[in-house]
Symmetry: C2
Subunit: 277 residues, 2 copies
């Protein structure tokens, strides 16, 4: 496994990589969710590249960029074990040199949900992902379904800008009690960790009711909200049941709809979603 | 010479093109300035692709998108004659299908000059050029120095987004009296056509004074303005002497500085520039 820290070296190495190349973009502090992406990339690619880059432009000024968890030695051990070929871990200066000022904006699908709660977040995501795609030039890039809106935004960017790769979305990996794996789960104290199960429980309830025939999205949203409100440590940012392509809020639930939510457990903001299928 | 009208067909053809591929992006209604770009591409590439696309997103609502001159049969004859391999001429619907909504914005270098006179223009330029680069995947793309700020914007986009090609800038081709070739020159009536020489005459005067030792940018700007004001059909949008990378206005002229101007001759808006060298 080779570790590359500069854009120039990555571009140079790229010229001689066995094809196809699979890319797993991450912000590090890896968990089984990330490793599941690497496994799938490994199965489908001759060369697996994993990027580790805590991208400052997708954090708002009041967010946790400075304190976002980092553990490079552990990440590298996990990636070596998952048979990664190249770890690309550039510095902030490498990705955003002095005077950097070009931005990729995906409009409309970024207006609501995470985009509304975190204005500017998806501009940072689209820009850094665009750069990573240009640097690594993968045939496929792998993203976790846990960041549902990010998946929609990245797919829309690739389609609109005619980029030459396929986006592969991998199902969310969960802890035994249902909590979606996230690097930010480390922020939770034991009491909050127990309370955090309320996110997946609300989503599974909606999915189960839909499977039993309930098609009224507003009713399902209200029942998710009611369930979450019974948890004293939880406060809701949003609860949504939306179209999987446009992310428009739905009145009647249809197959493929995305039920998603953002909930603060104490000071930690968590997101999760399920697909109605 | 092959004419391709869809993105899918262009992407498919791209897989089997002899390398390197050179791209000349145009809006058609070709003149010798365009053909000079094709000549250079022909000399440096195994495959020459010329795109013809009058890009609606770089025109402001009050501008000349609907009336922009078009003559495809003549363009194709000129390109065949210049030994073009592929002409890519997609429809607006091909480039901007329903729901298209991803934009590339190069900030700061677009704040002034054309960017200030034509807000949104460079967002349209950067977005369509980004798409063309992804569709055609050229090793080099060729642009005319006449659109000086466009050259700066496209180079900045390529650098900031780590795109995998080189931007080659070709000197402006001029009519015998000095007027820079432009598809929009066709808008000029005979009287206006004679008046239009004032643009290049002002720029050449500034360049000549600089070569004689004048370094005071404000003095050179004032003398260009005075010269243009003596032409009754001309009205000035801007006259600038700017840094070639940042496009910041200069106090003292330095080698490589760009003297540029935008002037209306009657109802026709023309631009031109010279490099101080």
């Amino acid at each position: 496994m080779k570790v590359i820290e500069t854009v120039a070296e990555m571009k140079k190495a790229r010229k001689n990589l066995p094809e196809p190349v699979g890319l797993v973009p991450t912000m590090g502090f890896l968990h089984d969710g990330h490793i599941e992406l690497v496994r799938r990339a490994r199965a489908e690619s001759k060369t697996v590249v994993v990027s580790i880059f805590v991208n400052p432009t997708q954090f708002l000024p009041n967010e946790d960029f400075a304190t976002y968890p980092r553990d490079i030695p552990r990440d590298l051990a996990m990636l070596e074990n998952a048979r990664t070929d190249i770890v690309f871990m550039p510095s902030v200066q490498e990705m955003y040199p002095e005077g950097f000022n070009t931005w990729v904006e995906v409009k409309k699908v970024t207006d609501r949900l995470e985009g509304a709660c975190r204005p500017g977040h998806f501009r940072g995501v689209a820009t850094v992902v665009n750069k990573l795609f240009n640097i690594v030039q993968p045939a496929k890039a792998y993203f976790g379904q846990k960041d549902a809106q990010q998946c929609v935004v990245v797919k829309k960017m690739v389609a609109d800008l005619d980029m030459n790769l396929e986006i592969v979305i991998i199902p969310t990996v969960r802890e035994p009690d249902g909590l979606a794996m996230s690097s930010r789960n480390v922020y939770l104290n034991p009491q909050e960790r127990r309370a955090a199960v309320v996110l997946s429980r609300a989503l599974f309830q909606a999915q189960s009711q839909w499977k039993k025939g309930e098609k009224d999205a507003e009713k399902l949203r209200k029942e998710m909200i009611a369930l979450i409100r019974r948890e004293p440590l939880a406060s809701i940012d949003y609860v949504s049941i939306a179209d999987p392509v446009t992310l428009d809020e739905l009145g009647a639930v249809k197959p493929g709809a995305i039920a998603s939510l953002a909930v603060r457990i104490g000071k930690t903001r968590l997101i999760d979603n399920v697909i109605m299928e």
